[in-house]
């Protein structure tokens, strides 16, 4: 049977999962951690500790700074050394809490054992509160606070929960290893989310290049179903290998054959998508009282001598991870936080990991340096590759001319910045770089228009 996939575009980069055999190993706690208060989309958290305070692992050190915001917990036990600006991995200043590590003492009530708990409480409100208290954010890349996503706006109804186990980005293997090693926890986490959403059916989407994970999760589901009816209604859907399958809109298209409208949210077509790592974090937060204090990070690259999937405390400096694994490879020119298609290049290795850091990837000049741009030969490969059905060659031109209205008419705002266009362009035109600028202009215009409309509506009301 033909495996499912999304309907438009996509590319097939070599998956390069060279660290797939490396099981997740905990990295020793570094002497100092630097925990940023801006680890999620939305308002940064507000620090509630001051220099000199003693903290334990799992203790809240920053509280949400708004509705769309999240708790930040200390990932270690020790003394707060400073609270202030520190350069993040892009080199920009971000408020960071520096903690000197002393021992490894956890806050009481946190279960750090490996015992699998299968008792899901019935009180959904209490579950949501625990997810919020646990500082759980979407770990698939967007780091959107999970409790907000699990509280659908009034009038919309969730029909299916999709757990994203695609890991379509080349090189990354942390989700794959999590599925293999903590499959039970992930499925229980999925069952918790499913219950909160009103006992909807749940699909775990896994790309077919991970057959072991597919088999293992099917096994786990069968075992859990025997324990409690709460685990029924969860299935696994093998998907064709294709990037960007793990994009939220693409995954919904692949699993449910529904397309989220331009400017719409997944919930508008009845879908909620959560990442594998998020499901695990939900399990930890709800059943083990354990907030997000560590996450698994794939450290990989052909030039990197020690492939690894490390369990790293949040706030560990990147340089400490690199030193732990034998130092910076000679021929690496670029370090990427995340995958090679959508990850961010690291400008500052002294920066620390965040909750959403999924990988550290080392690339050599031959692998990553862009070739000089040449003339567009109008081959249309970018348009074929675009999973949103856009015309990158056209958007590139319009964006360079600064024609914002035309850009909007050609749906520049729908761009998901997956990078397929730039990846496939034989003329090495920096399509996505330029389109991002145009998209930013369009978004600005749309926001300005919405604000003006709102103001006009209010003015009309006041009259």
């Amino acid at each position: 049977m033909a495996k499912r996939s999304f309907s438009i575009g996509g590319v097939h980069p070599h998956d390069n999962k060279i660290s797939r055999q490396c099981s997740i190993e905990p990295m020793p706690v570094p002497p100092t951690v630097y925990i940023s208060v801006a680890q999620h989309i939305g308002a940064p958290a507000v620090p509630v500790v001051k220099p000199g305070d003693k903290v334990k692992a799992g203790q809240v050190i920053a509280e949400p700074g708004g509705f769309v915001s999240a708790f930040i917990h200390s990932s270690v036990s020790g003394t707060v050394k400073s609270v202030g600006p520190r350069k993040d991995l892009a080199g920009n200043n971000a408020t960071t809490i520096e903690i000197t590590v002393e021992g490894d003492e956890w806050l009481e009530g946190i279960d750090t054992s490996d015992t699998v708990i299968t008792d899901i409480p019935d009180d959904n409100k209490a579950i949501l509160d625990k997810i919020r208290q646990g500082g759980v954010v979407g770990l698939g890349g967007a780091t959107f606070p999970t409790h907000v996503k699990l509280s659908p706006p009034p009038g919309s109804k969730c029909e299916r929960l999709i757990i994203n186990g695609c890991e379509c980005e080349p090189y990354l293997t942390s989700d794959f290893r999590t599925l293999l090693e903590k499959g039970e926890q992930v499925v229980i986490g999925a069952a918790i989310i499913k219950q909160v959403l009103g006992d909807v059916p749940c699909t775990i989407g896994i790309e077919e290049n991970k057959p072991e994970a597919i088999v293992h999760i099917l096994d786990v589901i069968e075992k859990l179903e025997a324990i409690s009816p709460k685990f029924s209604g969860i299935d696994v859907m093998p998907l064709k290998m294709r990037y960007p399958q793990g994009g939220e809109k693409q995954l919904i298209d692949a699993v449910m054959h529904r397309q989220v409208k331009s400017g719409g949210l997944p919930i508008h077509v009845g879908a909620v998508v959560q990442n594998v790592a998020t499901a695990l974090a939900v399990y930890d937060a709800v059943l083990k009282n354990k907030p997000i204090v560590d996450n698994s990070v794939t450290v990989t690259g052909h030039c990197f001598p020690h492939q690894a999937n490390l369990l790293v405390r949040v706030g560990t400096p990147l340089s400490a991870i690199i030193d732990y694994l034998g130092g910076m490879p000679e021929d690496a020119v670029k370090v990427i936080s995340g995958g090679p298609m959508m990850g961010r290049a690291v400008a500052n290795l002294d920066a620390a990991t965040l909750k959403g850091t999924s990988a550290l990837l080392f690339l050599t000049a031959a692998e990553t340096v862009r070739k000089p741009e040449s003339a567009c030969i109008r081959c249309g490969k970018c348009a074929d590759a675009c999973p949103m059905g856009l015309e990158p060659f056209l958007l590139n031109k319009l964006s360079r001319l600064g024609l914002t209205e035309e850009l909007e008419a050609n749906a520049a705002q729908d761009c998901i910045e997956c990078g397929c266009c730039l990846y496939s362009c034989p003329a090495n035109i920096p399509l996505l770089d330029v389109i991002r600028l145009g998209k930013a202009d369009v978004m600005k215009a749309i926001r300005a228009r919405a604000a003006a409309e709102k103001a006009a509506a209010e003015a009309a009301k006041n009259k």
Partner: protein, 318 residues
């Protein structure tokens, strides 16, 4: 043969006349009534369509100016006072004279003083770079060097100096339209009054990091030490967030701040004579020493006076 020629001429003539009539009628029926003054105003505009006034082009400006109740919010930076006087004459408004302005670049972190810690490998655009990271150097506030401002300038007044890696403003060509100001993602370019005979002084830095961090990132950064603030006798300089700013309206162009600045972050332009830094510095230090002594003496005197004033009081109490 002749008849063919006659026929041809006749047919073409009639066809021409008929089409001319059609064109005439169409032009009349679709004519848009416009205030004729819009054309008049447009005629005196510079015609650069740079958008410096805030409108899409010169015609849009003319249209807005004709409809406006006064010219307070309308100013063509390119044409300046001269053009605005003409516009005001057409529309019967009064116009306030505005001091001519010029763009200044507030970064002097040239390649030699700002060590590179990263290389850039994407589309050469400051805007792209700014969304990605803080820049190739340790300074997160400085010039990114891709020349978006050069591209944005409709008058060719900006160019990148290959030696310093920083943009240079050609004062002759700059019309203060403000396009570069809007373009720079680091907000490094400011429109400042040209000053008397083009003389002006400004802080050529935007680094808000604390002193040591700023200094580490760039040898020419403003470190927020506040010496200039203390030196200035006109209250023109304020330091906020570890960064000094000179209020052009209060600046008396004495250049004492330039002499005192430890990093050379304060720049000058248009002065006929070069500043003798050492001599000025010595003079200022002398003055400050004297002031300190005077202040100390005054304080002592005040103290004594207070003591004296207090002394009789206590005796009175007794």
């Amino acid at each position: 043969m002749t008849s063919i020629i006659i026929w041809t001429i006749a047919v073409t003539t009639i066809l021409g006349l008929v089409l001319a009539a059609v064109l005439f009628l169409v032009a009349r029926s679709f004519r848009v009534e416009e205030d004729p003054r819009i054309d008049e105003v447009e005629a005196v505009m510079p015609g650069a369509n740079c958008g410096g006034c805030g409108y899409a082009g010169c015609r849009a400006f003319a249209d807005a100016a004709v409809k406006a109740p006064n010219l307070d919010n309308h100013f063509c930076p390119v044409g300046g006072n001269e053009t605005m006087a003409k516009v005001a004459a057409i529309l019967g408004f009064e116009v306030k004279e505005k001091a001519p302005e010029v763009a200044v670049v507030r970064c002097n972190g040239s390649c030699s003083v700002r060590p590179k810690v990263n290389d850039y490998g994407g589309f050469a655009s400051c805007r792209v770079k700014a969304t990605l990271y803080s820049g190739d150097t340790g300074c997160a506030f400085g010039c990114l060097g891709c020349g978006d401002c050069v591209e944005a300038c409709p008058f060719g007044a900006l160019s990148m100096d290959p030696e310093t890696g920083l943009p240079v403003v050609d004062e002759e060509k700059c019309t203060a339209c403000g396009n570069c100001v809007k373009t720079c993602p680091k907000a490094l370019i400011e429109l400042r009054p040209k000053g008397p005979r083009g003389m002006r002084v400004w802080v050529s830095c935007r680094n808000k990091d604390k002193g040591p961090a700023a200094k580490k990132a760039c040898g020419a950064a403003c470190i927020g030490c506040g010496i200039c603030e203390k030196t200035c006798r006109h209250g023109a300089i304020t330091v906020t967030d570890n960064l000094a700013y000179i209020d052009a309206a209060k600046c008396k162009l004495c250049r004492e701040c330039i002499a005192m600045c430890p990093t050379g972050a304060i720049h000058e332009s248009g002065f006929p004579k070069p500043l003798d830094r050492e001599a000025t510095k010595a003079r200022i230090l002398e003055r400050q020493k004297k002031e300190r002594e005077e202040a100390a003496a005054a304080a002592k005197a005040a103290e004594e006076a207070a003591a004296k004033a207090a002394a009789p009081k206590t005796t009175e109490d007794k």
